[in-house]
Symmetry: C2
Subunit: 134 residues, 2 copies
């Protein structure tokens, strides 16, 4: 619980451009089995973030068309933690904000993401270690 | 990790009828901040299950209308574990099947659900206990 989050995070962040449609974004999410995507401008900066819930809440529920661009539904205020933050502190922050994905930054730059699937993997690995040392 | 899953599961399962539309179901999911719903027949039996991913994969990606009934997109083969199964074993099963929600049964009846959000809560609680006994 005290190890830094960079040990557990996923470095492979998948990004889309602001004009990608919600339908294309959904396809990408299903293809890579991920629950969120970052939105990247032409300079390579992360300018937004969205999850499967954002697609349901902001597209399916109000009945917007499937070709709505992701820039219309993305969250611009990114919730981030530094890559040296201990896992426990990150979990508390996620629980407090009720989020399942959190972006990891180093010197102001987004370098990875930590999700509840990574927590599952970390818990499972810890379990295997516990069993093998019993 | 050895405690039975019933300690960690959520008992409040939210069910919808087979003819509920995907749009109504999405609204419910957002209202209750949940990632899955069970589908219940007129006798109260659980006949299906679906997640936010199923809505993206089976409705948004192929471009089906938002009023598609949930019976058309639900999964009929339910993945379940008995309520006495140890947490560790449940986590391994979830990782193996790459799922974020698993239904909990007792004597063949669905009695609850365990999700990665429950894992977050369990990990967070364990952390608080560890800090308070330091």
């Amino acid at each position: 619980m005290k190890a830094p989050i960079k040990v557990y995070m996923t470095k492979k962040l998948i990004g889309v451009t602001p004009d990608t449609t919600v339908q294309e974004a959904s396809k990408l999410m299903m293809e890579f089995e991920i629950g969120s995507l970052v939105v990247i401008d032409e300079k390579g900066n992360v300018i937004g973030f969205f999850t499967k819930s954002d697609i349901l809440r902001r597209v399916v529920v109000p009945g917007l068309p499937y070709d709505t661009p992701v820039k219309d539904i993305m969250t611009k205020e990114l919730i981030t933690v530094n890559s040296n933050t201990p896992l426990g502190e990150v979990l508390r922050k996620m629980a407090r904000h009720r989020i399942k994905h959190i972006l990891i930054e180093e010197e102001g730059k987004i370098v990875g993401i930590f999700t509840l699937s990574d927590l599952l993997e970390a818990s499972r690995r810890k379990l295997e270690t516990a069993i093998s040392t019993e």
